[in-house]
Each structure stands twice: as C-alpha cells, then as structure tokens.
C-alpha cells in the first residue's frame, strides 16, 4: 500500500469545476463548456499519470491510498474519508475520464445550440466527480456517497430538458428505481457493520472468512439489489429505456459506459463476499442471465434507435453480471467486457446522436434508411462498434464476450449448460437486433422525405467517435493478449486462488459456436430488414407487441407497486383523518356536548340557583359527615 497525496485531485478538480460553473451563472456562458472540457482532460491526464506510476510499482505497492479526513466517529463506528486506487479502480478511472473527456468534446458541438450548455457541462463534471468518488472510495460508505452522487447527476441530466413533463417524469422514474437499489446498499452496509464492525473493503475482506453464511448471503443479496438498481438489471430495469429522454451525450456517458457499470464494479469489489457465499453467486447469475435475454428481446422490437441501444446496454450488462457470478476468474472477464463495452457502446451512442443531429432529432429508425451514403464517417464508426458488439473477430467484443460464454459453460453441470446456452442465445439475438439497427439506419433505400437534410456532423463530433472506435477495434485484443487484464486484476479478485475448473468444451469450440449463432442472427436480420421496410410500423405478432411494451415491465411495476402503494396511502390518509383526527374531534365534540348540556342549568331563575347552592351545602355537609365517621 503506497500513500499518495494527489488522488484527491481526481475528484476535487471536476467537483470544484462543477460548482464553479453553476455558481458563476450567465457570466460563464461563453467559456464554461471549454473550461469543463479542459478540467475533464486534465483529470484524464492525472489518471494516466497514476496509471503509469502504478505500473512502475509492483506487488502490494501497486495499491495507493490517501487519507483525507476523519469523517464519522461515533462510538465504535468509525469511517474515514479515504481514497483507494488499486488495479481495479484505475481501470475505471481511465475509462471514466477518457470516455468522459471525449464526450465532453462531443457535447461542445452537440449542445452548441442549447442556451443551457454551461449547466449541462457543469452537470457532466459533477457526474465525473461523483463517479470517480464511487470507484476511489475505500469503504462501502465512501462508495455510497459517490453512488448517490451519480444518481443525482443522472437525474439532473436525464431531466435536463425538463420543460417537457415526460422527460422530467423519466428522470424521476430513474431516480426512484435507483433508490430502491440504494436501500439494498444501505442494508448491506448495516449488516456489514453489525457483522464485522467495519465498513471498509479491507475490514470486510478480513472478516469475511469467519462470518456466518447467512450474513454473507444477506450482504451479497443486498449488494446485488443495489447493483440491479444502478445497472438496470432485472427486476429494477424499467428506468433505462425512459432515461433516453436525456441528451444523447448523457446516454452515451452515463447510461452506456459508466454509471450503469457501477453495479458491476460493486460486485467485483465485493468479490470476497460473493466468493464465500454460493447462494449469492447463484442469485447473481440468475439475475444476469434473465436480464441479458430480457434486454435482447426488448431490443428486437424497438424502432427508436436510442431505446434499442438502451436495451442493448441492459443486455450487455447482463453479460457482465453473469460473469461476476461465475467465480474468481469471471470478475476479470466481466471487467474486460465492461471496458470494451464502454468503447463500442459509447461510440454507437455518439453515432446515434450524430444521426439524430443530422436528421433534425428524428429517432424513429423507420424514417432513416440509406444514411450510410450521406454520413460516411458516422456509418463507419457505428459499423465498427456494431461489429464489436456482436462479437466478430478480431474486434473487441469477440474476445470479451466469448470468454464469458466459455466461463459460463465451464461452470459445470446443468447450471453450466443453462447459462452457457442462455449466453449463446443472447449472442444470437444481439446479432439479430444490432444488425437490424444498422441495416435500418445506414443501409437500404432512403425512407426519409425531402424535408430532412441529413449531413455529416461537425469535426468536434466525429473526432471523438473515431477515437472511440479505435478502442472498439483494438481494446479487446490488447486486454486479452497474454491474459493481461486477468493478471493485472488478479491481486484484487484473488483470481490466483481459482480452481482450474473443468472445461466443458475447448475454447475454440465455444468461439465457433458463438460465431455460428452470430452469423445466423445477422443473416436473419438482413433478410428481414434488407429491403421493403414499411415506414409505419406494422402491428406485428403478439410477442412483438409485448416486446414493444418492454415485456410488460411498466405494467408489472404499476400493478405490483404503484397501485398497492396508492391504496396504502389512501388507507393511511383515511385512518389519519377518520381515526386519529376523529379522536381529536371527538374530544372537542364531547366537551361541546357537555357544555351544551350544562348550559341548561342556567335558566335565569333565582330559585334554581338557590337550589344549586343548597345542593352544594349538602355536599359539604356530606363530606364532613363522611370524614367524621
């Protein structure tokens, strides 16, 4: 463990920049975006510097910590605000700052016509700061601060154009779904503190071997719930499609590359918990497998290009979550897929933004068609990303996804067959719908009318796209050459302690199977969507309509949660008004009744008053009589 003093700048620079831009207000409108991009770039610079410094160290010295201040000290509960930069965190730091800076550059052009551009960049910087805090925190509680911060930034950015009520509602929906996951994280922290007396990663890791299995499973399940909320996994996946209401750079940065991968980070960071509890791991792979199929099926029916890409993100993260449940070696593959996915998904989202920019914000793919001729650079970068995601060698996705499918099969027994089969099926469907997206958008004949003038985007937009597609092409090969990433992450995830694991099939067989199903999917899509695509969406089969409704996720949430919740609220309000307020009103009513009855004594006649006095005298006498008994 090395102690360094410059880790805090990674977080402080974007955070202060965000505050600065928000507080300065209109004065900074002319240069705010440039300032924010510069800050983001310098943060990337610091990240690179840290990376090379870490590479020059070896062994245990690779992890760097920085103690900031003592945060909470209450009785036996002590939490310090400290930062931890180890091999896992640095991957995320580079991804966040690198992709983040490219998206900042892209946004300069994309948001050039927006009056609130400065505010947008301030929020982007806020997001970068919060996400960095999330991956740099050295305890669950520090992570939680960043966790909440990215949730806030996501809400602010999804609802950026909150003049449209639908967008503001989408932001709220995202926040509420995230909140459900946050409950899981809170509970995990509480159980961890109760069990281990500490919430730092080191403390929990040290206490894990001697903890009760029930506690470990509980912590694991709660962490999974948190990850499901943040990463849009089943059952908390309903917000991701609606989150596309935000500007496209937001979708690219937050909902493709970084925030939604925070769940994967959490599970990987908590590997010691999941390694110790097979029930938790089982839950993880179930959630991952369900989500990857769910996202894939939904993606086939979406005509909105951004929603299709969002479903694709959901599905790919399902792959990552599946991988994290497959044991020590799975973590490395999950992170590999996460990094490559960051490149190609961000690249595709930026491409979609470019298409929308050229098509005057039209998102319906049925009105695209043949754009490849008009926007060659966009089509090229998008195409490279597309090839990467479907897993065509030698592009990035081939390496990472095949490794996951292989590891899934190697899990052994029925479980292995089921998981591997699901992953393969997912790959096939991914190939199908991604080809659909590509063909509908860039190939075929034009389905747009003459009012639209599609044109290539300005250089500030296609330069980041090109840089990202370099990553789509090369990152997979680079990360898996000589198991580079596996070895790099081994100290963090104890990959060295993994059993050899029986191989169900030789890796090359898996790759051939995967490639086979991919070709099948591509072929099917080309046949169906290659030509004669109707501009108005046909009604489609029952399954298509069901998939268009996101496989009923909103209806389920509504009936399961919203309606009972409203019923409970109504009951509580009625109880409060009728019963509790009723008691109060009854007190008043009783007093009024008593006084109305007593009022009748005052009839104005002196004689009845005399009688009352006599009665009083009798009462006195009776008391004396009783006392002297």
């Amino acid at each position: 463990m090395t102690t360094r003093t410059d880790l805090v700048f990674l977080i402080a620079l974007p955070l202060f920049s965000s505050a600065f831009l928000l507080l300065l207000g209109k004065i900074a409108n002319k240069w705010g975006h440039l300032f924010a991009t510069a800050i983001s770039a310098s943060t990337f610079g610091i990240g690179l510097y840290e990376f090379f410094a870490m590479r020059s160290r070896s062994g245990d010295a690779r992890s760097a910590t920085q103690h900031l201040f003592e945060w909470i000290s209450v009785g036996t509960f002590k939490v310090d605000a400290s930062l931890l930069l180890d091999q896992l965190s640095i991957c995320f730091v580079l991804l966040i700052t690198g992709v983040g800076t490219l998206i900042h550059i892209y946004s300069i052009a994309y948001m050039s016509h927006d009056v609130d551009r400065r505010r947008f960049f301030a929020y982007l910087n806020l997001f970068v700061a919060a996400m960095l805090l999330l991956v740099l925190g050295d305890s669950y509680l520090n992570l939680y601060v960043g966790w909440e911060g990215v949730g806030l930034a996501s809400y602010l950015l999804i609802g950026f154009w909150n003049q449209k009520p639908a967008y503001a509602t989408a932001a709220k929906k995202a926040f509420v779904a995230n909140r459900v996951g946050d409950v899981g994280l809170s509970l995990a922290i509480m159980i961890a503190f109760a069990q281990f007396g500490s919430v730092t990663f080191a403390g929990v890791k040290a206490g894990a071997p001697s903890a009760s299995p029930a506690a470990l499973t509980a912590i694991g399940a709660m962490l999974l719930l948190a990850a499901a909320g943040k990463s849009a996994q089943f059952p908390l996946q309903s917000w991701l499609g609606d989150a596309m209401a935000g500007p496209t750079p937001v979708s690219a940065l937050i909902h493709a590359a970084t925030m939604v991968t925070a769940g994967v980070y959490l599970i990987t960071r908590s590997n010691f918990i999941f390694d110790a509890s097979s029930t938790a791991r089982l839950l993880v792979v179930i959630v991952g497998a369900i989500t990857l199929l769910f996202g894939a099926i939904v993606g086939t029916a979406k005509d909105d290009i951004k929603k299709a890409l969002a479903a694709s993100t959901m599905s790919q993260i399902g792959y990552m979550i599946l991988a994290t449940g497959l044991g020590p070696v799975g973590y490395a593959f999950a992170i590999m897929h996460l990094l490559t996915h960051g490149f190609f998904k961000a690249s595709m989202f930026l491409g979609a933004g470019s298409v929308m920019h050229g098509m005057d914000d039209e998102v319906n793919m049925r009105r695209y068609g043949g754009l490849g001729k008009v926007m060659p650079i966009t089509a090229l970068t998008f195409g490279l990303g597309y090839l990467a995601i479907i897993g065509v060698p030698p592009f990035a996705g081939f390496y990472s996804k095949d490794k996951i499918i292989e590891t899934a099969f190697n899990a052994g027994g029925t479980r292995g067959i089921l998981l591997g089969g699901a992953a393969l099926l997912g790959a096939a469907i991914t190939a199908f719908y991604m080809t659909r997206v590509f063909v509908l958008t860039f190939m075929g004949s034009k389905r747009w009318d003459d009012k639209a003038h599609p044109h290539e985007s300005p250089s500030l937009m296609w330069i980041p796209m090109v840089l990202l597609s370099v990553g789509s092409v090369a990152s997979g090969f680079l990360l898996s050459k000589g198991s580079a990433l596996v070895h790099w992450l081994a100290p963090v995830v104890n990959a060295g302690n993994a059993e050899g694991g029986k191989e169900l099939m030789r890796p090359v067989v898996v790759s051939e199977l995967a490639l086979g199903v991919v070709i099948l999917g591509v072929f099917t899509a080309i046949v169906k969507y290659g030509r004669n695509v109707p501009v108005e969406a046909p009604t489609g089969s029952v399954l298509t309509r069901f998939a268009r409704r996101d496989l009923g996720q909103d209806d389920l949430n509504h009936n399961l949660l919203v309606l009972p919740g409203q019923a409970i609220t109504r009951t509580l309000v009625a109880t409060d008004f009728g019963f509790i307020d009723g008691i109060v009103r009854a007190v008043g009513w009783t007093l009024a009744y008593i006084s109305t009855s007593l009022k009748k004594i005052q009839n104005g006649y002196v004689r009845s008053y005399a009688l009352l006095m006599t009665a009083g005298a009798i009462a006195l006498l009776a008391t004396i009589w009783l006392v002297t008994l």
Binding site: S608, L611, T614, L621, W625
Partner: protein
Amino acid sequence: MFNMSLQVGSTHTPEAVLFWVLAPMAVLAALGMLLVKKAVHSALLLAWVMITLAIFYIAQDALFLGIVQVVVYTGAVMMLFLFILMLVGVDSSDSLVENIKGQRAASILAAIGFGGLLISLIGRAVSHTDAVGLATANADGNVQGIAQQLFTQYVWAFEVISALLIVAALGAMVLAHSERKHLSQRQLSVNRFRQSSLADTAGLPASGVYARHNAVDVPALLPDGSAAPTSISATLEARGDIIATAPFELTSQEEEEN
C-alpha cells in the same frame, strides 16, 4: 331573680310535655307557612312559630332572649312584614304551579338529605354529652349574666352591631326614597329661577322669533341664533345655489341689540 328552676338534662315531665305539645305544632305551622297560597297567612303562621320558639327559649333558661324574641322578632319584624305585605298587595296570592321542571322534587330530596345529614351530624356531636345547664351561668340572673358577657367579652361585636343598625336604617331610607316625578308649579318656578343665568329664566324662544328673512335660500335660525343646516333644500345645495349662512346667524352683538 325568679328562676324557673328546671332541672338540667332531665326527663322532667313538664318540659317534656311542653316540648312534645308545642314542637309538632311548630313544625305544622312551618309547613303551613310553606304551603298556603296567601302571603298574609304565611306571615301569621310564621308569627306562631316565633311565639313557640320564644316559649322554648324561656323553657331553656334564656329568659332575656325569649322576651326579646317576642318583642323584637314577632312584634317588630313580623309586623314589618305585614306592613309591606299590605303595600304589595294583601290579596295577592301566588299560583302554586311550579314552572321550573324538577324543582319541587329536587328540593324535597335536598330537604330530606340536608335534614338527615344535619340531624345525624349534630346528633352525633351532642347526644353522648350531658347538658351542663345554666344554673351557674344564671347565678346572678339571666339579664345580668348576658350583660356581663356582652359588655366585656363581646363589646367589640356589640359596637359593630350598633353601627350596623344605623347603617341599615339609613339604607332603608335611601332605598325607599322615590324621586317625585311630578313637581308642583311652585317648585317648577323656583327651579327655573335657580338656573345658572337669569337669561334662561323665560326659557328659549319659539321658532320664528328671530327670523329675519323668508327667502328659500336663507337658513332658518335655531333658538340659540345659529343657522339650522337642514332648513335649506338639498337641491339648492346640489346646484350650488346656497349662500353662506354665517351672515345670517345671530351674533351676540345682534342678540343684545335685539
């Protein structure tokens, strides 16, 4: 002094006979006072009760008090009652219908309760003691004994009581005094000349005495010489045709001239 020499605390027959004959009659008289319709009858029955009580006082060696009871209470107070009854209306009889609901029942209940409590309480206090009797206290005679107590131990109360009597008499005079509304002619003229200035002796002049114009827009004059604001038509005011009223008011100089 001549003692009645009744024996103390005794079951001596004369006193017992006296008591058992007179006491029921007193109770019946009291009840009758309560129940009869005519107020005069009530007064007379009350007088009977008081006489009976005077006899009881004398029987108990309170000679002075017994005579005072007859003279003051029965003689003065009850007669006073009868005089007032005659003022108020001898024939007036109350209707015995009770108009407050439950008053009668409640009062009878209260009476029984009150009576029972009193009897039980005082009976408890008194019944197991023997009466000492007033033989020693009355050794020099009852009047002397009372005088001796009154002017030594209770002299302060005695003085206050006499002040009270005087105040009561004054109070009665003040309360019963009535202003005669109807003054005689002589009294009226005397009062007239006793006002602050002789100028008011003849009273204020009638309307029209000081009138000097009969035009519509000239105000009429009030008896004290000022202009009457309501004597000019409102229409004229609205039209702006009024003229200032000040020149037409009587000043004291003019009054003196007149």
